[in-house]
Structure formats: structure tokens, C-alpha cells
């Protein structure tokens, strides 16, 4: 999850946030990291660029991007599907 945090900080240009300051279960939007709708699109780009993962169902977005942990779990599940 530390790699994912670093990738998010770089992709979203969060220059005043240290990856280690992001809690695994902190909300990424609104009260937590305070990301916005453009950031959500950048997270989708991040999944494509770094993990070759495309989100088939956009309605899953809020669930996938809730926190670092939910993102990591989604990435792991998708990688296992790709390997199967």
C-alpha cells in the first residue's frame, strides 16, 4: 500500500502531502484527503497506467476509491483475475 500511496501523491501532484501521512483507511474524498472529481479521473488513469486495470462499471467508483485499502484490495483482486 505504500507504493500505491506514493503513486497517488505523484499522479495527483499532492506536493504538500507525504505518502506516509495517508492512513490506509482514511477517506480519499471529502473529509479525508479532500480529493475532487478531477482527482477521481486521475485515479482511473493511474489504475490504467500502473496496473493495466480498467474499471468496467463506473458505479463501482465510490466503493473502489473510498480509501487506500479499498483501492489496494481492488487492484489485488483484478491482478488475481488477470493471472487466472
Amino acid at each position: 500500500m505504500s507504493d500505491l500511496k506514493s503513486q497517488i501523491v505523484e499522479q495527483l501532484n499532492l506536493q504538500e502531502v507525504k505518502p506516509e501521512d495517508i492512513g490506509n483507511d482514511d477517506p480519499l474524498f471529502k473529509t479525508g484527503l479532500g480529493l475532487d472529481s478531477i482527482d477521481a479521473l486521475e485515479l482511473i488513469v493511474l489504475l490504467q497506467q500502473h496496473y493495466n486495470i480498467r474499471i468496467a462499471n463506473p458505479e463501482q467508483g465510490p466503493e473502489i476509491f473510498h480509501s487506500i485499502r479499498t483501492m489496494a484490495e481492488f487492484i489485488t483482486a483484478q491482478q488475481q483475475k488477470q493471472q487466472a
Partner: protein, 199 residues
Amino acid sequence: MSNKAYITGTCIIRNNGIFHNGQLVWEAPGAELQEFLRGAYDHFSGQYPKFHKMDPLSKLGWLAAEVLLKDNPVLQLPKEAVGMMLSNRSASLDTDIRYYATVKDIASPALFVYTLPNIVMGEICIRHGFKGENTFFVSEQFDTALLSAYPTELLSTTPLQACLVAWVEVMEQDYEVIMVLVERNGQQPLDKESLDAIR
């Protein structure tokens, strides 16, 4: 109502220096543009992380407004009473080119949102809550006749009580901001000659 407008403050950003009302208030000799912008942000503002996501055009306009409006009574006016009139030569071409480069791979949403020149006005409005009329003109040169006559008209015929008027140009490492605060009362009339003298 007076049919005149007055310049009550100026901010010029060029040659790695920031000038407030004619006085050099910060400089970073030899710095690349992005390094210069980050240094200026740290010096004059901070605590506004969205700055880092802006394109250079928005950063330049936002910084000039930040310097010009710090502790300024204009910030106490009704938000609908503060407008903006900006202009430049290259529109958002500096960012358009960088966005186009990403299209060959995966288009960047964060760059795409800055592929309009008037976004800089939105960033300033969001920062200060301004809701007054705003307009962005693209012209080959700093048109001091237009940028004096039009704000004067706005202050005379609309509810606007103050207006930010600026030339905000950037293309790669070449940049220049000339921003003036214009109000209904003051000492220095807003006219072509005054803007020519300031630039």
C-alpha cells in the same frame, strides 16, 4: 456616479521578480518558471494545496491576485461587486500543447481542465469568492486602450465596485503578468497612458 475608474494597486511579475505597487517584493534569480512559481507560493501564501495542480497560466494570475489583494479592503466588498478582466496573447496554448502530448498515451484529465484561458479567472474567483462579471480577451499585445476603457465602463454602468485588470501571458519559460486593481475612487485614473506607464 462618476464615469471614471482609478488604479489603486499594481502587481507585476516578470524576469523572476514580483513587484507590488512598483516595489520589488520577491525575486528568485535564475530559477526556472516552475521553481519560481513554487518559491513565490511558499513566500506569499502556502496553505492552498490546489495551487500545485494549476497550470502555469493560472498560477501566475493567482499569485498576482494573492500579492495584490493581501489585506486589501476590496476583499470586504460584496462578492458580486468584484469583477475581472484579463487578457493575453497565447490563450492556454502552453497547456494545450502539454495536454496534446498526453493524448498520444492516456489523456490527462488534470491537464484538460486547464485548456481554456479563462480558467485562471475561475481559480482567482474560487480563492476569493468573487462573483462579479469577468471576461478574458486574447490579443496580440497588451491592449491598454481596451483594458482601460472597458473596466471604466463596467464600473460606471454595472454594480461592480472593483475590478482586477490584467495581462497574464505565459508560453514555456516566457511569462509576464501586469495586474492592476481598479476601483471607483482613487488618485490615479485608469486610462491608456497610465497603463502604458505601468507596463
